[in-house]
Amino acid sequence: MKTIGRYVRPYTLIVAVTMLLKLAAAVLDLLIPSFLARIIDDAVPAGLRSGIFFWGGIMLACAVLSLFTNMYANRIAARTSSQMTRTLRHDLFSKLSYLSAAQLDQIGIPSAVSRLTTDTYNLNQLFNRVQRIGVRAPILLIGGVTITLIMDPALTLVLLATLPFIGLLVRFVTRRSVPLYTRQQGILDRLVRTVQENITGVRIIRALSRVPHERSRFEAVSQDLSGTEEKAGSIMALTNPAASFILNIGLVLVVVTGAYLVNAGRSTTGNIIAFLNYFTIILNAMLGITRVFVMYSKGKASALRVEEVLLMPEDLPVLQAEAPVSSPWHIQWEDVCFSYNKRQDNLSAVSFALRHGETLGVIGATGSGKSTLIALLLRLYEAGSGRILIDGQDIRTIPRKTLYGKIGVAFQNDFIMSDTLRENIRYFRDIPDEAIRQAVEDAQAGEILQDKEHGLLHRAAVRGQDLSGGQKQRLLIARALAGTPEILILDDASSALDYQTDARLRGALARNYPQATKIIIAQRVSAIMRADHILVMDEGRIESAGTHEELMKTSSIYREIADTQMSLLEGAAHV
């Protein structure tokens, strides 16, 4: 909770002001009945109408004052809790945005989403209520206890004797319920995931008529969630009745003790009556405080989940730059090894080097490590051993903005936002419209725009569902090109393009981006055969490297791939 506490601290002063206002309002509320006593004790016996009106007027004045202080304090409370939530959610979102791929894998996207949503809402409520009730209640409690102490210390001590029991109760309830609330949030993650899967897989699920199965799957998670909610609630429900019971027993003791005191002439009946009145205030305040504790334990579960993210160490820090070494190579890999699970290598001993403007083609079977190569070059994951250099500089020492500013990348099935095509290509960068149009042209995406009534301002549907696979890919390539990158990476980014379009794309790349060093991952030999270097990947290793002609001689895998694809050419020739 320490980290979350930091979000409250900047508001200490303003919370203090709210507290003072609430104090004033509470005191006014406490005073109003005492003016009634004035009317009854002073004005009425003296038969003074003016006195009655006078005190009545004061009561009204107090009421008005109390109204305004309360309103103002509530406004501040709503505002500060919103500010806190905003900052917290901002920080959480930022942190999540900067998490390394491995860290985000560890949390999982659905859980990240529910931490951003339900967990921050829980905390917002906690902030808000604590300010409103959490302040008023203790003030009423302390005020009430002080007044009763002055009136009759002995009786007050009897009442106070019950407080430790309430403390034990609150401790018991929070101890038992926090783990349950944590579990509840975990199940909520599962529920979110189930809904998410049902949305993304809607076509398959419908096609396989698995809707009933999905229903029962959802039902199971939902029941589990409801069950845990009920369990946690049952423990929480103990708080109110148990706390009022303990306090009421205190009251009974007060009456009995009071009877002895009055009987012994050490107190008066009037005192006991007044005491009982203030007791109601104390009781309500105490219940208010326990309610805050209840909210606290629910908030705590959420706070812990949010904190877990906030406290994640910075992964892949930028290292101290060494003295720049001039290097003839633009991109250079030295003996790079990597493993996702730290057991079995997914890449081993990968070395290669590229000069500015050269093109590297990468080909290989599914799962041979092609995409891992890209992930490492982008420093989405960190190489286990070996070095990756750009212009002689270890990528671990290049500031993120500089590194990514050099690179334009199109992943295979990448992310399309529900926003305009223009915004999807621009992707939050400062790119003039002409550059966007040029990129669209080069990516062979022009015809997509022709189809759409609003051209670049066409709004893509959620997850780009209104675009075909090929259209999406061209949009992603346009995104990669729009920044005129130094390094252009196409990770199987044109697999859904027909050959004609693909060929035109390659032409445009060669013509209009001669400076860019290109890394092209593909399954079609035709897409990479003109590359300056070709890597043939197999089970995480470079099986062989060279130009198309060399590889045709040296690599059996490459030859096999090429032959199967080329035999078709002959087949076509026969027709």
């Binding site: 009561m59 009974v252 990514y404 697999s495 096999e560």
Partner: protein, 608 residues
């Protein structure tokens, strides 16, 4: 960045298309109607409700007994030294302790009853929402943010029920207290109750006015939260892309805008809610002042005694306490109503139209498929498919080729009835597909789609999803045929390795092979392969070729592929361009005619 459609936000999107999903009903939903619908959820559990009502009355009555018992005890103490009647005091104390104990126990039972009620209502509401979700047209999900939908099923349902379970019972309790106190006050000094004739209606009117003002704020709050959720969900999905372009700062500042909007909508609504509370507190204080003044005047006029005023004041405080609480609850109810509206709006979303009356179950499928002059558009006036006709005989392999964006995938959407056509006819085995049950129609197809959908579960679960109850051997055989068995065996727990979100990472190609294995388990008579091997490398593709052919054997197959090699052997090739078939025939004929197909085919060997 804004979202396409926000549930309950009352915003229409340009993506709207009649025929699927229909328009969301407008934002104005009468509160009475929302209440009635909520009541339908609560009302089913009348037994529990009645029980809780009884418990609330009894528990509260016992609690109200306390002051009377203590009063008797105080009378027994007497006014001076040595007058105390201890047996009575002790007896009363005993009664008090008993009353409080019973009241506490009843209070706890009441809470448990309400929790049980809440559990039932929540589960049912979630079930209803989910059931509605799975019956919505596919197009609905193309238009709504996932995060927004999730927000309904989690946050909104939760808000509704939080309030139903705690607030309703609180209202019940308050009602009892108010009635009892009112009776007591009437007994003590009916004249003074007149004061409440002023203050109570004032409270009521004010509350009504203030809640009327707060309602749009709460609606706005729910809509803004939905939009924010949608955005957060989307940008989490795009985290890797954002990273690769180092656009975190910009994304975050974009996020900040949505966050600010949501937060300030939240604060405005929250404040409006508390305003009701403070104002009612004010009115109560005023009524106390009025009671004191009039009480004093009445006393001077000889109307009431001093003790009466004191007792009256005590009860009036008991009376106003619950009214205070009620006022603060009203704020919470507002947010519950706004959330309920969103829940109901989703429940009201038009599901896929019912199967036609007397729709037949497609059985004994042969696999004869005919499209006649089909026209379709996602957006009105922007036809994607124009006058498309197509014939596939049982067992035919029909390849659909054409430039990207020509409408190939749309044909699949229409065949499967994910979207409904605008005009023309689609027939399977000579039966109009609109006269068939959707389930039997879709069940007649096996499909492998471009986006390889895997869910969180084991490898085995994911493959067996294609045919429930498939044996381990069958699953392994399918995996072997799809050339993914070896990969699976290398996973830490083989077929029992969890994959999908948070599970073992699987590459796109591997994911595709898994979905192919899944399809291989299916036994439908018709097959759809939409770029089914686009993520698989050529060598692997070659190796699974045999299995793919086996998969197609005897099935009417619709194949979309860019690699024309895959489709050279198709019985029938449709060349689609701009939504209509421009050429058709088999490979040889099409090559001979040297048209668009031939140029496409040649292009794949051009290497620039």
């Amino acid at each position: 960045m804004s979202n396409p459609q926000v549930i309950g936000g009352g915003r229409m999107s340009r993506m709207e298309r009649s025929g699927d999903g229909r328009r969301d009903s407008g934002p104005k939903v009468s509160r009475a109607k929302t209440m009635r619908r909520l009541w339908r959820y609560m009302g089913v559990h009348r037994g529990l409700l009645v029980l809780s009502l009884i418990l609330a009355v009894v528990g509260n009555a016992l609690a109200l007994l306390g002051p009377r018992l203590s009063g008797t005890a105080i009378d027994a103490i007497g006014l001076g030294q040595g007058e105390a009647d201890f047996p009575v005091i002790i007896r009363m104390a005993g009664f008090m302790a008993m009353a409080y104990l019973v009241s506490a126990v009843i209070g706890y039972i009441l809470s448990r009853v309400m929790l049980r009620l809440r559990r039932k209502v929540v589960t049912r509401m979630r079930r209803d929402v989910f059931n509605r979700m799975v019956s919505l047209p596919v197009g609905f999900f193309d238009r709504h943010q996932t995060g927004d939908l999730i927000s309904v099923i989690t946050y909104d349902i939760d808000t509704v029920n939080e309030s139903l379970s705690s607030d309703v019972i609180q209202l019940l309790r308050s009602l009892v207290t108010v009635v009892v106190s009112l009776v007591m006050m009437l007994v003590i000094a009916p004249q003074l109750v007149l004061v409440f004739l002023v203050t109570v209606p004032a409270s009521a009117l004010y509350t009504r006015w203030a809640t009327g003002r707060a309602r749009p704020l709460f609606r706005e709050r729910s809509a803004q939260l939905g939009a924010l959720n949608g955005m957060m969900e989307q940008m989490m999905d795009g985290q890797r892309t954002t990273k690769a372009y180092a656009r975190e700062e910009e994304v975050i500042s974009n996020f900040d805008r949505a966050n600010d909007a949501a937060v300030s909508a939240y604060a405005r609504a929250e404040y409006a809610g508390t305003l009701v509370f403070s104002s009612v507190n004010f009115i109560n204080n005023v009524s106390l002042a009025l009671v004191s003044v009039f009480g004093g005047l009445l006393y001077l006029a000889g109307g009431v005694g001093l003790g009466d005023i004191s007792a009256f004041v005590q009860y009036s405080r008991k009376f106003s306490g619950p009214i205070n609480e009620t006022a603060s609850i009203v704020g919470e109810l507002q947010s519950a109503f706004a959330a309920a509206e969103r829940v109901f709006r989703l429940l009201d979303a038009e599901p896929e139209p019912q199967d036609a009356l007397g729709a037949n179950v497609l059985s004994g499928v042969r696999g004869d498929v005919r499209l006649e002059n089909v026209t379709f558009s996602y957006l009105p006036q922007v036809p994607v498919i124009r006058g498309l006709s197509l014939t596939a005989r049982p067992g035919d392999v029909v390849a659909i080729v054409g430039p990207t964006g020509a409408g190939k995938t749309t044909i699949i959407n229409l065949l499967m009835r994910f979207y409904d056509i605008d005009s023309g006819r689609i027939m399977v085995d000579g039966k109009d597909i609109y006269a068939l049950t959707r389930e039997s129609l879709r069940g007649a197809f096996t499909m492998v789609l471009q986006d390889n959908w895997l869910f969180h579960g084991t490898v085995y679960d994911n493959i067996a999803y294609g045919r429930p109850g498939a044996s381990r051997d069958e699953v392994e055989a399918a995996a072997k045929a799809a050339m993914i068995h070896n990969f699976i065996m290398r996973l830490p727990q083989g077929y029992d390795t969890p994959i999908g979100d948070k599970g073992h990472a699987v590459s796109k190609g591997q994911a595709q092979l898994l979905t192919i294995a899944r399809a291989m388990l299916g036994n439908a008579r018709m097959l759809i392969l939409d770029e089914a091997t686009s993520d698989v490398d050529t060598r692997t593709e070659q190796r699974i070729q045999k299995a793919m052919l086996a998969l197609m054997r005897g099935r009417t197959s619709f194949v979309i592929a860019h690699r024309l090699s895959t489709i050279r052997n198709a019985d029938h090739i449709l060349v689609v361009r701009n939504g209509s078939v421009i050429e058709q025939g088999n490979h040889e004929n099409l090559m001979k005619s040297n048209g668009f197909y031939a140029s496409l085919y040649q292009a794949q060997f051009e290497t620039t």
